[in-house]
């Protein structure tokens, strides 16, 4: 049985206390709302994409430490990446948090701190919320750019 400190690692607590890129993004080309009806966690993700590159990304909302830290770290990781790179990152992250806890997962740097959710099945959704919102944002047409 894993310890609580595996879930609430210092890096996660830090991102929960001081979430990075926690703001609205005027002029965003892509936005999406993420919602976890089970717990009421809600976040809005903003992306500014130009020439297929994520120039800026931010989020707002209310959620638990895991979902907030995950969104915070994700936005840090996405800046400067192409959409294809972001898609690949999504796939790696998704694999990491859905691999059974007794199996090895690849090192994803800071994001690896979220691998601890595998011991807490109901919390996997919390860690994934921002990432699924990212997927949804890419599917949305560029709303704000046309307004």
């Amino acid at each position: 049985m894993s310890d609580l400190s595996d879930l609430y690692q210092e890096v996660i607590l830090d991102h929960n206390r001081r979430p990075r890129n926690f703001r609205a993004l005027p002029g965003a080309s892509h936005t999406a709302e993420g919602y976890n009806p089970l717990c009421g966690d809600r976040l809005t993700l903003y992306l500014k994409v130009a020439n297929d590159t994520i120039e800026d990304v931010s989020f707002e909302g209310a959620g638990c430490a895991i979902s907030k830290a995950s969104a915070s770290m994700m936005t840090d990781e996405l800046k400067g990446r192409t959409i294809a790179e972001a898609d690949a990152l999504f796939a790696r992250f998704h694999r990491m948090v859905t691999t059974p806890p007794d199996q090895q997962v690849e090192d994803m740097g800071k994001l690896s701190s979220l691998a601890g959710v595998r011991e807490f099945p109901v919390r996997v959704k919390c860690a994934s919320l921002a990432w699924h919102t990212l997927k949804a944002a890419f599917k949305n047409t560029a709303r704000t750019s046309t307004e």
Binding site: M1, L4, Y8, N16, C39, G40, D41, A65, I66
Partner: protein, 411 residues
């Protein structure tokens, strides 16, 4: 209280609930999620086991010995429920799956045929989703309008505003007796009096209230009442719908099928008598039998003793939770029971839930199927500890310690 006030023998009660002997995460189980569902005493488990070992058959059908015994047991449960709620007749007691099904029965068989465009259904701002959505669907289908009586900052129903919302167009009042998210007990006598003064029928959702206090539907004079077995220490899948006989007689069936008919032909079918008109298909026989045993168990302890014990624990838990830094209780009604809903600065309820679970303490976190209540208080969710008769001061102490741990993790 006088010296003769009934006292709950906690040691004995705890011994009656086998699950309380188990450990969770290496610690004795501390179960404080009773508003979601309660644990079951051995008497209930034994009654169900005995039924399947000795009696199992379908009801209302066969002429053989087992079917007669099963029918007797099933109808015996109905009579036990009638007595528990002091209904005038077993014709007024309909078995459902749960309270939600009871509310849907009312919405489909009572409200929808009566509602016309512009008519109103009045609920409160502290309803469970199960007492909101069926009315939204009914209003959508008929053009009626859903009205919502407000609650104040304590989580109490604002009775003046409620009264002001009773209009000549109000066709039904459907209100909870006790809020699952806040613990508030609503002024049901006033609600019934005010509505009846205008000829408006009242349904009460007693899902939470029924396992904390004595309910007498005749004394209260409510028109309808719903409750669910699994919060009354009985199995899941068995619910109770009470309706005054005159109302039930005037209502069409809810679901069609076997058992609810008197005769069937392709040109025309006729309905069975009450309450069978509302019970289509093979019912949850073991559930009814388990519920019978659960009500015997509750009455064996007695609501006086249960109430005294639970009130003591609620006060004790309220003090414990209040004493923590940065913790605020949501729902501070003067009349409340058995529920402490709270938020902690800087710690999301979900994180609280996970941390206290590691200490063997089960609480609920989230919106409690009452999102409008969360919205009213401007929060996404709460952590909720809810008390039943078998909880102890030690359980509350364990919760207090676990919450301090959550505070430490997020310090």
């Amino acid at each position: 209280m006088s010296a003769t006030a009934p006292v709950l023998d906690l040691k004995r009660v705890r011994a009656d609930f086998p699950i309380l002997q188990r450990e969770v995460r290496g610690r004795p189980l501390v179960y404080l999620d009773n508003a979601a569902t309660s644990q079951k005493p051995a008497a209930v488990l034994d009654a169900i086991d005995r039924y399947y070992r000795t009696t199992n058959a379908n009801v209302h059908r066969g002429v053989h010995e087992l079917s007669e015994r099963a029918t007797e047991a099933y109808e015996g449960a109905r009579e036990r429920i009638r007595r528990f709620f002091n209904a005038a007749s077993t014709r007024e007691i309909v078995f459902t799956r749960n309270a939600t099904e009871g509310i849907n029965l009312l919405a489909f068989a009572f409200a929808r045929p009566r509602l016309k465009p512009g008519d109103e259904v009045l609920i409160s701002a502290m309803e469970h989703h199960s007492n909101i959505v069926p009315w939204q669907l009914a209003c959508e289908a008929t053009g009626a309008v859903l009205k919502v009586a407000p609650i104040d900052d304590r989580g109490e129903l604002m009775l003046d505003a409620f009264e002001a919302l009773l209009s000549p167009k109000t066709r039904l009042v459907a209100i909870t007796w006790m809020s699952n998210a806040l613990g508030t007990i609503t002024p049901v006598r006033d609600i019934v009096r005010l509505a009846h003064a205008r000829g408006i029928p009242v349904m009460l959702d007693a899902s939470q209230a029924a396992y904390h206090m004595r309910i007498d539907v005749q004394a209260l004079d409510c028109d309808f009442l719903v409750a669910t077995g699994h919060k009354l220490y009985a199995p899941t899948g068995i619910g109770i719908f009470y309706g005054k006989e005159a109302h039930l007689e005037a209502m069409p069936p809810f679901m069609g099928g076997g058992d609810m008919i008197a005769s069937v032909s392709f040109s025309c079918s006729t309905w069975n008598v009450l309450p069978y008109k509302f019970e289509a298909g093979t019912p949850h026989i073991e559930g009814a039998i388990g519920l019978h045993a659960a009500l015997d168990y509750i009455d064996g302890i007695g609501f006086d003793a249960i109430g005294t014990h639970e009130r003591d624990l609620l006060q004790y838990a309220t003090r414990q939770v209040e004493s923590l830094d940065g913790v605020r209780i949501v729902g501070t009604a003067r009349e409340k029971a058995s529920i402490v809903s709270f938020v902690m600065d800087g710690v999301h309820p979900h994180d609280i839930g996970t941390i206290v679970d590691r200490e063997g303490v089960a609480i609920r976190t989230g919106h409690h199927c009452a999102q409008p209540v969360m919205e009213r208080f401007g929060i996404p969710a709460t952590a909720r500890a809810s008390i039943a008769m078998y909880n102890s001061r030690e359980d509350i102490d364990a919760l207090g310690l676990a919450l301090r741990k959550a505070r430490e993790v997020f310090a």
